[in-house]
Amino acid sequence: MVTSRAYMTNGRLGEGLEQVRAEVARLMSGFIANGAQTVEPAALLPADILIDLYGEDLRARAYTTHDPVAGELMLRPDFTVPVVQMHMANGALAARYAYAGSVWRRQEQGSERPNEYLQAGFELFDGHDPAADDAEVFAVMATVLGDLPVAPITGDLGLVIDAIEALDTNAHRKAALRRHVWRPARFERLLQRYARPPTFSAERAQLLGAVRDGSILEFVEKSGAAQGIRTVEEIVARAEVLAAEKATPPLSKAAVALVSGVLDLKCTMAEAARGLRKIAPMLSAAATQLEARTEALSNAGIDVSSLPFEASYGRKTLEYYDGFVFGFRAVARPDLPQIAQGGRYDALTRVLGNGKGIPAVGGIIRPEALLALKGDTP
Protein backbone atom coordinates (compact mmCIF):
# COMPACT_ATOMS: atom_id res chain seq x y z
CA MET A 1 0.00 0.00 0.00
CA VAL A 2 1.22 3.45 -0.85
CA THR A 3 0.47 4.79 2.64
CA SER A 4 2.20 1.92 4.44
CA ARG A 5 5.63 2.15 5.99
CA ALA A 6 7.79 -0.14 8.09
CA TYR A 7 5.60 -2.16 10.49
CA MET A 8 2.64 0.20 9.94
CA THR A 9 -0.07 -0.06 7.32
CA ASN A 10 -1.02 3.60 7.47
CA GLY A 11 1.86 5.83 8.45
CA ARG A 12 2.45 8.15 5.55
CA LEU A 13 -0.74 10.19 5.54
CA GLY A 14 -3.02 12.03 7.93
CA GLU A 15 -3.38 10.65 11.41
CA GLY A 16 -0.90 7.81 10.90
CA LEU A 17 1.79 10.24 9.80
CA GLU A 18 1.01 12.59 12.68
CA GLN A 19 1.45 9.68 15.05
CA VAL A 20 4.88 8.85 13.57
CA ARG A 21 6.01 12.47 13.74
CA ALA A 22 4.80 12.89 17.30
CA GLU A 23 6.59 9.71 18.37
CA VAL A 24 9.85 10.75 16.73
CA ALA A 25 9.55 14.18 18.37
CA ARG A 26 8.90 12.59 21.76
CA LEU A 27 12.01 10.39 21.43
CA MET A 28 14.14 13.30 20.25
CA SER A 29 13.05 15.48 23.14
CA GLY A 30 13.94 12.63 25.51
CA PHE A 31 17.45 12.58 24.03
CA ILE A 32 17.76 16.37 23.98
CA ALA A 33 16.66 16.55 27.63
CA ASN A 34 19.70 14.39 28.30
CA GLY A 35 22.03 17.02 26.86
CA ALA A 36 22.17 15.93 23.22
CA GLN A 37 22.50 18.33 20.32
CA THR A 38 20.68 17.36 17.14
CA VAL A 39 22.53 16.30 14.01
CA GLU A 40 21.28 15.47 10.54
CA PRO A 41 23.71 13.38 8.47
CA ALA A 42 23.28 13.17 4.70
CA ALA A 43 21.14 10.38 3.31
CA LEU A 44 23.60 9.70 0.50
CA LEU A 45 27.02 8.72 1.83
CA PRO A 46 30.29 7.98 0.03
CA ALA A 47 30.39 4.21 -0.43
CA ASP A 48 34.15 3.74 -0.16
CA ILE A 49 34.43 4.55 3.54
CA LEU A 50 31.47 2.34 4.45
CA ILE A 51 32.76 -0.58 2.36
CA ASP A 52 36.21 -0.13 3.81
CA LEU A 53 34.74 -0.29 7.29
CA TYR A 54 32.16 -3.04 6.93
CA GLY A 55 33.57 -5.00 4.04
CA GLU A 56 32.09 -6.38 0.89
CA ASP A 57 29.21 -7.98 2.83
CA LEU A 58 27.68 -4.51 3.17
CA ARG A 59 26.96 -4.43 -0.58
CA ALA A 60 24.41 -7.19 -0.06
CA ARG A 61 22.72 -5.09 2.64
CA ALA A 62 22.88 -1.50 1.40
CA TYR A 63 21.70 0.30 -1.72
CA THR A 64 24.45 1.56 -3.92
CA THR A 65 24.15 4.17 -6.61
CA HIS A 66 26.58 5.91 -8.88
CA ASP A 67 27.11 9.60 -9.36
CA PRO A 68 29.19 10.77 -12.33
CA VAL A 69 31.01 13.31 -10.13
CA ALA A 70 30.95 11.95 -6.58
CA GLY A 71 31.46 8.32 -7.58
CA GLU A 72 29.86 5.43 -5.76
CA LEU A 73 27.32 6.47 -3.12
CA MET A 74 25.25 4.52 -0.62
CA LEU A 75 21.84 5.22 0.82
CA ARG A 76 22.54 5.62 4.56
CA PRO A 77 22.48 2.09 6.03
CA ASP A 78 22.92 3.46 9.56
CA PHE A 79 23.64 6.71 11.39
CA THR A 80 26.58 5.75 13.54
CA VAL A 81 29.29 6.17 10.90
CA PRO A 82 28.27 9.64 9.65
CA VAL A 83 27.66 10.84 13.23
CA VAL A 84 31.12 9.66 14.28
CA GLN A 85 32.61 11.35 11.21
CA MET A 86 30.92 14.64 12.05
CA HIS A 87 32.04 14.37 15.63
CA MET A 88 35.66 13.61 14.69
CA ALA A 89 35.69 16.48 12.17
CA ASN A 90 34.66 18.81 14.99
CA GLY A 91 37.65 18.10 17.18
CA ALA A 92 36.45 15.06 19.09
CA LEU A 93 35.66 16.57 22.49
CA ALA A 94 33.02 15.13 24.76
CA ALA A 95 29.54 15.46 23.25
CA ARG A 96 26.06 13.94 23.02
CA TYR A 97 24.05 13.76 19.80
CA ALA A 98 20.46 12.99 18.87
CA TYR A 99 19.20 12.22 15.38
CA ALA A 100 16.20 10.76 13.58
CA GLY A 101 15.59 9.75 10.01
CA SER A 102 15.33 6.89 7.56
CA VAL A 103 17.87 4.18 6.95
CA TRP A 104 17.72 1.86 3.96
CA ARG A 105 18.62 -1.81 3.87
CA ARG A 106 18.39 -4.28 1.03
CA GLN A 107 16.44 -7.38 2.03
CA GLU A 108 16.61 -10.91 0.74
CA GLN A 109 14.01 -12.27 -1.64
CA GLY A 110 10.91 -13.24 0.29
CA SER A 111 11.94 -11.30 3.41
CA GLU A 112 9.20 -9.49 5.29
CA ARG A 113 11.63 -6.94 6.67
CA PRO A 114 11.24 -3.36 5.43
CA ASN A 115 13.88 -1.89 3.15
CA GLU A 116 13.30 1.59 4.60
CA TYR A 117 12.66 2.37 8.25
CA LEU A 118 13.14 5.14 10.78
CA GLN A 119 15.78 5.27 13.45
CA ALA A 120 15.95 7.72 16.33
CA GLY A 121 19.26 7.61 18.10
CA PHE A 122 21.42 8.93 20.88
CA GLU A 123 25.24 8.83 20.81
CA LEU A 124 27.58 9.76 23.62
CA PHE A 125 31.27 10.59 23.11
CA ASP A 126 33.32 10.81 26.28
CA GLY A 127 36.19 8.94 27.87
CA HIS A 128 36.13 9.91 31.50
CA ASP A 129 33.78 7.33 32.96
CA PRO A 130 32.89 4.60 30.45
CA ALA A 131 30.78 2.67 32.97
CA ALA A 132 28.65 5.74 33.70
CA ASP A 133 28.29 6.43 29.96
CA ASP A 134 27.19 2.84 29.24
CA ALA A 135 24.61 3.14 31.99
CA GLU A 136 23.46 6.56 30.80
CA VAL A 137 22.76 5.38 27.24
CA PHE A 138 20.97 2.27 28.47
CA ALA A 139 18.91 4.31 30.95
CA VAL A 140 18.00 6.92 28.32
CA MET A 141 16.66 4.15 26.08
CA ALA A 142 14.85 2.44 28.96
CA THR A 143 13.28 5.77 29.98
CA VAL A 144 11.91 6.69 26.55
CA LEU A 145 10.56 3.13 26.16
CA GLY A 146 8.70 3.60 29.45
CA ASP A 147 6.45 0.75 30.51
CA LEU A 148 6.11 -0.85 27.07
CA PRO A 149 6.24 -4.67 27.14
CA VAL A 150 9.87 -4.96 26.06
CA ALA A 151 12.54 -7.27 27.48
CA PRO A 152 16.03 -5.84 27.82
CA ILE A 153 19.22 -7.82 27.34
CA THR A 154 22.84 -6.81 27.77
CA GLY A 155 26.19 -8.22 26.73
CA ASP A 156 29.83 -7.30 26.39
CA LEU A 157 31.87 -8.09 23.30
CA GLY A 158 34.94 -6.73 25.08
CA LEU A 159 35.05 -9.87 27.23
CA VAL A 160 35.83 -12.27 24.40
CA ILE A 161 38.41 -9.80 23.09
CA ASP A 162 40.00 -9.72 26.57
CA ALA A 163 39.88 -13.54 26.76
CA ILE A 164 41.75 -13.78 23.45
CA GLU A 165 44.33 -11.32 24.72
CA ALA A 166 44.86 -13.46 27.82
CA LEU A 167 45.58 -16.65 25.83
CA ASP A 168 49.02 -18.14 26.20
CA THR A 169 49.81 -18.05 22.48
CA ASN A 170 51.55 -15.88 19.88
CA ALA A 171 50.43 -12.44 18.72
CA HIS A 172 49.61 -13.72 15.24
CA ARG A 173 47.01 -16.18 16.54
CA LYS A 174 45.52 -13.59 18.85
CA ALA A 175 45.16 -11.12 15.99
CA ALA A 176 43.55 -13.77 13.77
CA LEU A 177 41.01 -14.68 16.46
CA ARG A 178 40.26 -11.03 17.27
CA ARG A 179 39.66 -10.32 13.59
CA HIS A 180 36.93 -12.96 13.42
CA VAL A 181 35.10 -12.27 16.70
CA TRP A 182 32.07 -11.12 14.66
CA ARG A 183 32.06 -14.21 12.41
CA PRO A 184 31.23 -16.98 14.91
CA ALA A 185 31.58 -19.95 12.51
CA ARG A 186 35.01 -18.89 11.27
CA PHE A 187 36.09 -17.98 14.81
CA GLU A 188 35.16 -21.45 16.05
CA ARG A 189 37.06 -23.08 13.15
CA LEU A 190 40.17 -21.04 13.93
CA LEU A 191 39.96 -21.86 17.63
CA GLN A 192 39.65 -25.59 16.87
CA ARG A 193 42.51 -25.44 14.37
CA TYR A 194 44.79 -23.77 16.92
CA ALA A 195 43.87 -26.44 19.45
CA ARG A 196 45.26 -29.39 17.51
CA PRO A 197 48.67 -30.23 16.07
CA PRO A 198 48.89 -28.87 12.52
CA THR A 199 48.69 -31.11 9.46
CA PHE A 200 50.19 -30.20 6.10
CA SER A 201 49.87 -31.00 2.44
CA ALA A 202 53.05 -32.20 0.68
CA GLU A 203 53.39 -28.77 -0.97
CA ARG A 204 53.08 -26.98 2.34
CA ALA A 205 55.69 -29.27 3.89
CA GLN A 206 58.07 -28.35 1.05
CA LEU A 207 57.43 -24.66 1.58
CA LEU A 208 58.13 -24.96 5.31
CA GLY A 209 61.25 -26.97 4.51
CA ALA A 210 62.49 -24.12 2.33
CA VAL A 211 61.96 -21.68 5.21
CA ARG A 212 63.90 -24.00 7.50
CA ASP A 213 66.94 -24.36 5.20
CA GLY A 214 66.98 -20.69 4.22
CA SER A 215 66.18 -21.23 0.51
CA ILE A 216 62.69 -19.76 0.71
CA LEU A 217 63.29 -16.67 -1.44
CA GLU A 218 64.78 -18.75 -4.22
CA PHE A 219 62.02 -21.35 -3.81
CA VAL A 220 59.30 -18.73 -4.31
CA GLU A 221 61.10 -17.04 -7.20
CA LYS A 222 61.47 -20.37 -9.00
CA SER A 223 57.81 -21.26 -8.62
CA GLY A 224 56.38 -19.08 -11.34
CA ALA A 225 56.17 -15.64 -12.84
CA ALA A 226 55.78 -12.97 -10.18
CA GLN A 227 52.76 -10.87 -11.05
CA GLY A 228 50.43 -8.45 -9.37
CA ILE A 229 51.20 -6.06 -6.56
CA ARG A 230 51.64 -8.71 -3.86
CA THR A 231 55.41 -9.04 -3.83
CA VAL A 232 57.68 -12.05 -3.45
CA GLU A 233 58.75 -10.54 -0.10
CA GLU A 234 55.15 -10.66 1.12
CA ILE A 235 54.91 -14.31 0.09
CA VAL A 236 58.16 -15.10 1.89
CA ALA A 237 56.97 -13.21 4.97
CA ARG A 238 53.76 -15.27 5.11
CA ALA A 239 55.76 -18.49 4.62
CA GLU A 240 57.79 -17.46 7.66
CA VAL A 241 54.60 -16.83 9.62
CA LEU A 242 53.43 -20.32 8.63
CA ALA A 243 56.73 -21.80 9.79
CA ALA A 244 56.45 -19.97 13.12
CA GLU A 245 52.87 -21.16 13.33
CA LYS A 246 54.04 -24.76 12.87
CA ALA A 247 56.43 -24.34 15.79
CA THR A 248 53.68 -22.93 18.03
CA PRO A 249 52.27 -25.47 20.48
CA PRO A 250 48.53 -26.13 20.21
CA LEU A 251 46.23 -24.21 22.52
CA SER A 252 45.60 -26.14 25.70
CA LYS A 253 42.15 -27.55 26.44
CA ALA A 254 41.98 -25.06 29.30
CA ALA A 255 42.61 -22.16 26.94
CA VAL A 256 39.85 -23.26 24.54
CA ALA A 257 37.56 -23.80 27.52
CA LEU A 258 38.34 -20.28 28.75
CA VAL A 259 37.29 -18.67 25.46
CA SER A 260 34.20 -20.87 25.11
CA GLY A 261 33.34 -20.32 28.76
CA VAL A 262 33.48 -16.55 28.40
CA LEU A 263 31.37 -16.68 25.21
CA ASP A 264 28.80 -18.91 26.92
CA LEU A 265 28.51 -16.80 30.08
CA LYS A 266 24.81 -16.18 30.70
CA CYS A 267 23.42 -14.81 33.94
CA THR A 268 21.97 -11.60 35.34
CA MET A 269 23.87 -8.33 35.20
CA ALA A 270 24.20 -8.47 38.98
CA GLU A 271 25.97 -11.85 38.78
CA ALA A 272 28.03 -11.14 35.66
CA ALA A 273 31.26 -9.94 37.30
CA ARG A 274 31.29 -12.78 39.81
CA GLY A 275 30.53 -15.29 37.02
CA LEU A 276 33.40 -13.94 34.95
CA ARG A 277 35.83 -14.10 37.89
CA LYS A 278 34.86 -17.70 38.41
CA ILE A 279 35.48 -18.92 34.84
CA ALA A 280 38.30 -16.52 33.99
CA PRO A 281 40.16 -15.31 37.10
CA MET A 282 42.84 -13.67 34.93
CA LEU A 283 40.27 -11.26 33.45
CA SER A 284 39.99 -9.35 36.70
CA ALA A 285 40.31 -5.95 35.00
CA ALA A 286 37.32 -6.82 32.80
CA ALA A 287 35.43 -8.07 35.86
CA THR A 288 36.15 -4.79 37.65
CA GLN A 289 34.76 -2.90 34.64
CA LEU A 290 31.65 -5.08 34.73
CA GLU A 291 31.24 -4.29 38.43
CA ALA A 292 31.56 -0.58 37.74
CA ARG A 293 28.95 -0.80 34.97
CA THR A 294 26.60 -2.83 37.15
CA GLU A 295 26.88 -0.22 39.88
CA ALA A 296 26.37 2.64 37.41
CA LEU A 297 23.27 0.92 35.98
CA SER A 298 21.96 0.41 39.48
CA ASN A 299 22.61 4.08 40.31
CA ALA A 300 20.69 5.01 37.16
CA GLY A 301 17.68 3.19 38.58
CA ILE A 302 17.97 -0.06 36.59
CA ASP A 303 17.16 -3.30 38.41
CA VAL A 304 20.36 -5.23 37.70
CA SER A 305 19.19 -8.34 39.55
CA SER A 306 16.59 -8.98 36.83
CA LEU A 307 18.59 -7.61 33.87
CA PRO A 308 19.83 -10.50 31.66
CA PHE A 309 23.47 -10.62 30.58
CA GLU A 310 24.85 -12.77 27.73
CA ALA A 311 28.54 -12.35 26.94
CA SER A 312 28.15 -13.11 23.23
CA TYR A 313 24.96 -11.12 22.67
CA GLY A 314 25.27 -8.91 19.58
CA ARG A 315 28.08 -10.93 18.08
CA LYS A 316 26.41 -11.37 14.72
CA THR A 317 25.49 -7.73 14.21
CA LEU A 318 27.57 -5.13 12.43
CA GLU A 319 31.18 -5.56 13.37
CA TYR A 320 31.84 -2.38 15.27
CA TYR A 321 30.59 -3.02 18.77
CA ASP A 322 33.57 -3.93 20.94
CA GLY A 323 32.31 -3.49 24.51
CA PHE A 324 28.95 -3.10 26.25
CA VAL A 325 25.97 -4.01 24.02
CA PHE A 326 22.24 -4.04 24.69
CA GLY A 327 18.87 -4.61 23.08
CA PHE A 328 15.16 -4.33 23.87
CA ARG A 329 12.94 -7.00 22.34
CA ALA A 330 9.14 -6.94 22.02
CA VAL A 331 8.27 -10.12 23.89
CA ALA A 332 4.81 -10.65 22.46
CA ARG A 333 5.75 -9.60 18.92
CA PRO A 334 8.49 -11.87 17.59
CA ASP A 335 7.68 -10.55 14.11
CA LEU A 336 9.05 -7.12 15.07
CA PRO A 337 12.78 -6.41 15.12
CA GLN A 338 14.38 -5.26 18.36
CA ILE A 339 12.63 -2.05 19.39
CA ALA A 340 15.94 -0.57 20.55
CA GLN A 341 19.58 -1.61 20.45
CA GLY A 342 23.04 -0.19 20.84
CA GLY A 343 26.49 -0.52 22.27
CA ARG A 344 30.02 0.72 22.64
CA TYR A 345 32.26 1.22 19.60
CA ASP A 346 35.56 2.71 20.77
CA ALA A 347 37.61 1.09 17.97
CA LEU A 348 35.36 2.52 15.25
CA THR A 349 36.17 6.07 16.35
CA ARG A 350 39.89 5.27 16.08
CA VAL A 351 39.44 3.94 12.54
CA LEU A 352 37.37 6.93 11.41
CA GLY A 353 39.60 9.38 13.28
CA ASN A 354 42.78 8.01 11.65
CA GLY A 355 44.07 6.59 14.90
CA LYS A 356 42.76 9.40 17.09
CA GLY A 357 39.74 7.97 18.84
CA ILE A 358 37.34 8.85 21.60
CA PRO A 359 35.40 6.26 23.59
CA ALA A 360 31.81 6.22 22.33
CA VAL A 361 28.56 4.46 23.11
CA GLY A 362 25.12 4.90 21.59
CA GLY A 363 21.83 3.35 20.69
CA ILE A 364 18.87 3.58 18.34
CA ILE A 365 15.13 3.12 18.62
CA ARG A 366 12.90 2.01 15.74
CA PRO A 367 9.93 4.39 16.10
CA GLU A 368 7.67 2.55 13.65
CA ALA A 369 8.22 -0.80 15.37
CA LEU A 370 7.62 0.95 18.69
CA LEU A 371 4.31 2.35 17.43
CA ALA A 372 3.28 -1.05 16.08
CA LEU A 373 3.90 -2.45 19.53
CA LYS A 374 2.04 0.43 21.21
CA GLY A 375 -0.91 -0.24 18.93
CA ASP A 376 -1.24 -3.71 20.51
CA THR A 377 -0.97 -2.35 24.00
CA PRO A 378 -4.18 -0.83 25.35
Binding site: E56, R59, A175, R179, R186, R189, R230, R238
Partner: protein
Amino acid sequence: MSILKLGLPSKGRLQEQTIDWFAARGVIIERTGSGREYAGRVLGFEDIELVLLSAGEIPKELATGRIDLGVTGQDLVYEKIPGWKGKVVELAAMGFGQADLILAVPVNWLDVENIDDLDAVAAAFRAKHGFRLRIATKYHNLVREFLQGHGVADYQLVDSQGATEGVVKNLTAEAIADITSSGETLRANHLKTLHDGLILRSQATLYAGLDVCKHVGKKAILVQMLDTLGLAIPSELSR
Protein backbone atom coordinates in the same frame (compact mmCIF):
# COMPACT_ATOMS: atom_id res chain seq x y z
CA MET B 1 -4.73 -19.82 -28.93
CA SER B 2 -1.98 -19.99 -26.33
CA ILE B 3 1.65 -19.61 -27.26
CA LEU B 4 4.51 -21.01 -25.19
CA LYS B 5 7.71 -19.04 -25.60
CA LEU B 6 10.96 -21.02 -25.58
CA GLY B 7 14.19 -19.03 -25.25
CA LEU B 8 17.33 -20.54 -26.78
CA PRO B 9 20.90 -19.24 -26.99
CA SER B 10 21.09 -17.17 -30.15
CA LYS B 11 24.32 -18.56 -31.51
CA GLY B 12 27.43 -20.66 -31.21
CA ARG B 13 28.23 -24.04 -29.76
CA LEU B 14 25.71 -23.70 -26.94
CA GLN B 15 22.92 -23.32 -29.52
CA GLU B 16 24.12 -26.30 -31.60
CA GLN B 17 24.31 -28.53 -28.56
CA THR B 18 20.88 -27.38 -27.41
CA ILE B 19 19.33 -28.21 -30.79
CA ASP B 20 21.09 -31.62 -30.73
CA TRP B 21 19.84 -32.28 -27.19
CA PHE B 22 16.22 -31.63 -28.20
CA ALA B 23 16.64 -33.65 -31.43
CA ALA B 24 17.98 -36.66 -29.52
CA ARG B 25 14.73 -36.58 -27.54
CA GLY B 26 12.44 -36.29 -30.53
CA VAL B 27 11.91 -32.52 -30.64
CA ILE B 28 13.22 -31.06 -33.86
CA ILE B 29 14.17 -27.37 -33.80
CA GLU B 30 14.72 -25.77 -37.17
CA ARG B 31 16.53 -22.52 -37.87
CA THR B 32 14.57 -20.61 -40.49
CA GLY B 33 15.67 -17.83 -42.80
CA SER B 34 19.34 -17.20 -43.41
CA GLY B 35 21.94 -18.46 -40.94
CA ARG B 36 22.33 -15.03 -39.39
CA GLU B 37 18.64 -14.36 -38.92
CA TYR B 38 17.49 -14.95 -35.34
CA ALA B 39 14.48 -17.08 -36.19
CA GLY B 40 13.40 -20.69 -35.99
CA ARG B 41 10.57 -23.07 -35.12
CA VAL B 42 9.83 -26.30 -33.31
CA LEU B 43 8.49 -28.94 -35.70
CA GLY B 44 5.16 -30.41 -34.64
CA PHE B 45 4.63 -27.68 -32.02
CA GLU B 46 2.95 -24.80 -33.87
CA ASP B 47 2.07 -23.18 -30.56
CA ILE B 48 5.70 -22.95 -29.36
CA GLU B 49 7.40 -19.72 -30.34
CA LEU B 50 11.16 -19.82 -30.52
CA VAL B 51 12.93 -16.76 -29.11
CA LEU B 52 16.65 -16.55 -29.78
CA LEU B 53 18.48 -14.58 -27.10
CA SER B 54 21.94 -14.18 -25.71
CA ALA B 55 22.37 -16.81 -22.96
CA GLY B 56 23.03 -13.97 -20.50
CA GLU B 57 19.60 -12.43 -21.20
CA ILE B 58 17.63 -15.64 -20.76
CA PRO B 59 17.53 -15.64 -16.90
CA LYS B 60 16.00 -12.16 -16.71
CA GLU B 61 13.45 -12.96 -19.43
CA LEU B 62 12.44 -16.11 -17.56
CA ALA B 63 12.19 -14.33 -14.21
CA THR B 64 9.94 -11.60 -15.63
CA GLY B 65 7.80 -14.14 -17.51
CA ARG B 66 8.51 -12.73 -20.96
CA ILE B 67 9.56 -16.25 -21.96
CA ASP B 68 8.13 -19.45 -20.47
CA LEU B 69 10.99 -21.87 -21.05
CA GLY B 70 14.65 -21.21 -21.60
CA VAL B 71 18.03 -22.87 -21.97
CA THR B 72 20.95 -21.22 -20.21
CA GLY B 73 23.76 -21.89 -17.73
CA GLN B 74 23.00 -22.45 -14.05
CA ASP B 75 25.73 -19.94 -13.23
CA LEU B 76 23.81 -17.21 -15.04
CA VAL B 77 20.49 -18.07 -13.39
CA TYR B 78 21.94 -18.21 -9.86
CA GLU B 79 23.85 -14.97 -10.37
CA LYS B 80 21.19 -12.93 -12.14
CA ILE B 81 17.97 -14.00 -10.39
CA PRO B 82 18.13 -13.26 -6.65
CA GLY B 83 15.97 -15.90 -4.95
CA TRP B 84 15.79 -17.88 -8.21
CA LYS B 85 13.95 -20.78 -6.56
CA GLY B 86 10.91 -18.57 -6.20
CA LYS B 87 10.91 -17.69 -9.89
CA VAL B 88 12.17 -20.53 -12.05
CA VAL B 89 12.45 -24.32 -11.88
CA GLU B 90 15.04 -26.60 -13.43
CA LEU B 91 13.41 -29.07 -15.83
CA ALA B 92 16.58 -30.86 -16.96
CA ALA B 93 20.31 -30.57 -16.62
CA MET B 94 21.44 -31.04 -20.20
CA GLY B 95 24.92 -32.49 -19.82
CA PHE B 96 26.87 -29.88 -21.79
CA GLY B 97 28.10 -26.35 -21.35
CA GLN B 98 29.95 -27.46 -18.21
CA ALA B 99 31.71 -24.64 -16.44
CA ASP B 100 33.11 -24.31 -12.95
CA LEU B 101 33.11 -21.01 -11.12
CA ILE B 102 36.36 -21.07 -9.16
CA LEU B 103 38.62 -18.87 -7.07
CA ALA B 104 42.15 -18.51 -8.44
CA VAL B 105 45.35 -16.81 -7.28
CA PRO B 106 48.80 -16.39 -8.86
CA VAL B 107 50.77 -19.67 -9.07
CA ASN B 108 53.68 -18.11 -7.22
CA TRP B 109 51.52 -17.62 -4.12
CA LEU B 110 53.04 -20.78 -2.64
CA ASP B 111 51.61 -19.83 0.74
CA VAL B 112 48.02 -19.99 -0.49
CA GLU B 113 46.36 -23.39 -1.01
CA ASN B 114 42.87 -22.85 0.36
CA ILE B 115 40.31 -20.32 1.54
CA ASP B 116 41.79 -20.17 5.05
CA ASP B 117 45.06 -19.04 3.47
CA LEU B 118 43.30 -16.52 1.25
CA ASP B 119 41.56 -15.04 4.29
CA ALA B 120 44.85 -14.77 6.21
CA VAL B 121 46.60 -13.21 3.20
CA ALA B 122 43.74 -10.72 2.81
CA ALA B 123 44.36 -9.48 6.36
CA ALA B 124 48.11 -9.11 5.80
CA PHE B 125 47.57 -7.53 2.39
CA ARG B 126 45.20 -4.91 3.76
CA ALA B 127 47.57 -4.06 6.60
CA LYS B 128 50.45 -3.62 4.18
CA HIS B 129 48.78 -1.93 1.21
CA GLY B 130 46.04 -0.01 2.98
CA PHE B 131 43.17 -1.41 0.92
CA ARG B 132 41.27 -4.67 0.77
CA LEU B 133 42.52 -7.52 -1.38
CA ARG B 134 40.77 -7.25 -4.73
CA ILE B 135 39.02 -10.20 -6.35
CA ALA B 136 37.95 -9.61 -9.96
CA THR B 137 34.74 -11.24 -11.15
CA LYS B 138 31.51 -10.77 -13.02
CA TYR B 139 29.69 -13.12 -10.61
CA HIS B 140 29.33 -10.64 -7.75
CA ASN B 141 26.38 -12.25 -5.98
CA LEU B 142 27.66 -15.83 -6.13
CA VAL B 143 31.19 -14.92 -5.06
CA ARG B 144 30.07 -12.61 -2.23
CA GLU B 145 27.67 -15.23 -0.90
CA PHE B 146 30.38 -17.91 -1.05
CA LEU B 147 33.01 -15.81 0.71
CA GLN B 148 30.53 -14.57 3.29
CA GLY B 149 29.51 -18.18 3.98
CA HIS B 150 33.16 -19.02 4.55
CA GLY B 151 33.67 -16.01 6.82
CA VAL B 152 36.35 -14.40 4.65
CA ALA B 153 37.11 -10.76 5.52
CA ASP B 154 39.24 -7.91 4.18
CA TYR B 155 38.52 -8.50 0.50
CA GLN B 156 36.64 -6.47 -2.09
CA LEU B 157 35.09 -7.47 -5.38
CA VAL B 158 36.04 -5.54 -8.49
CA ASP B 159 34.04 -5.86 -11.65
CA SER B 160 35.53 -7.62 -14.62
CA GLN B 161 33.24 -8.44 -17.53
CA GLY B 162 35.84 -10.18 -19.68
CA ALA B 163 39.48 -11.30 -19.95
CA THR B 164 39.36 -11.68 -16.17
CA GLU B 165 42.45 -13.90 -16.15
CA GLY B 166 44.51 -10.86 -17.17
CA VAL B 167 43.64 -8.59 -14.24
CA VAL B 168 46.43 -9.74 -11.92
CA LYS B 169 49.08 -9.04 -14.53
CA ASN B 170 47.41 -5.67 -15.17
CA LEU B 171 47.58 -4.85 -11.44
CA THR B 172 43.83 -4.26 -11.17
CA ALA B 173 43.19 -7.22 -8.83
CA GLU B 174 45.09 -9.77 -6.75
CA ALA B 175 42.84 -12.78 -7.33
CA ILE B 176 39.96 -13.78 -9.59
CA ALA B 177 36.69 -15.69 -9.45
CA ASP B 178 35.75 -16.86 -12.91
CA ILE B 179 34.35 -19.65 -15.05
CA THR B 180 36.77 -22.27 -16.26
CA SER B 181 36.20 -25.50 -18.16
CA SER B 182 39.65 -26.97 -18.78
CA GLY B 183 41.80 -24.62 -16.70
CA GLU B 184 44.05 -23.89 -19.68
CA THR B 185 43.47 -20.14 -19.68
CA LEU B 186 44.23 -20.06 -15.97
CA ARG B 187 47.52 -21.88 -16.43
CA ALA B 188 48.49 -19.70 -19.39
CA ASN B 189 48.00 -16.67 -17.15
CA HIS B 190 50.00 -18.12 -14.25
CA LEU B 191 46.99 -18.65 -12.03
CA LYS B 192 45.99 -21.66 -9.92
CA THR B 193 42.70 -22.63 -8.29
CA LEU B 194 42.32 -23.00 -4.53
CA HIS B 195 41.75 -26.59 -3.32
CA ASP B 196 38.42 -25.64 -1.80
CA GLY B 197 37.72 -22.75 -4.15
CA LEU B 198 34.98 -24.34 -6.26
CA ILE B 199 32.08 -21.91 -5.93
CA LEU B 200 29.69 -23.56 -8.37
CA ARG B 201 29.65 -26.46 -10.84
CA SER B 202 27.40 -25.32 -13.66
CA GLN B 203 25.96 -26.77 -16.88
CA ALA B 204 23.42 -25.85 -19.53
CA THR B 205 19.94 -26.39 -18.13
CA LEU B 206 16.36 -26.24 -19.38
CA TYR B 207 14.36 -23.91 -17.14
CA ALA B 208 10.70 -23.01 -16.83
CA GLY B 209 9.28 -19.86 -15.28
CA LEU B 210 7.26 -20.79 -12.19
CA ASP B 211 4.14 -19.06 -13.47
CA VAL B 212 3.84 -21.03 -16.69
CA CYS B 213 1.34 -23.53 -15.28
CA LYS B 214 -0.99 -20.80 -14.00
CA HIS B 215 -2.04 -20.49 -17.62
CA VAL B 216 -4.13 -23.51 -18.66
CA GLY B 217 -3.30 -23.24 -22.35
CA LYS B 218 0.44 -22.94 -21.74
CA LYS B 219 0.37 -25.81 -19.30
CA ALA B 220 -1.17 -28.11 -21.93
CA ILE B 221 1.62 -27.29 -24.40
CA LEU B 222 4.28 -27.75 -21.72
CA VAL B 223 2.86 -31.14 -20.66
CA GLN B 224 2.89 -32.29 -24.26
CA MET B 225 6.44 -31.14 -24.81
CA LEU B 226 7.79 -32.62 -21.57
CA ASP B 227 6.06 -35.87 -22.47
CA THR B 228 7.86 -35.95 -25.84
CA LEU B 229 11.15 -35.16 -24.10
CA GLY B 230 10.52 -37.93 -21.57
CA LEU B 231 10.50 -35.49 -18.63
CA ALA B 232 8.05 -35.34 -15.74
CA ILE B 233 6.30 -32.14 -14.66
CA PRO B 234 8.16 -31.01 -11.53
CA SER B 235 6.11 -30.61 -8.37
CA GLU B 236 6.88 -26.88 -8.20
CA LEU B 237 4.88 -26.42 -11.40
CA SER B 238 1.93 -28.66 -10.62
CA ARG B 239 1.16 -26.93 -7.33
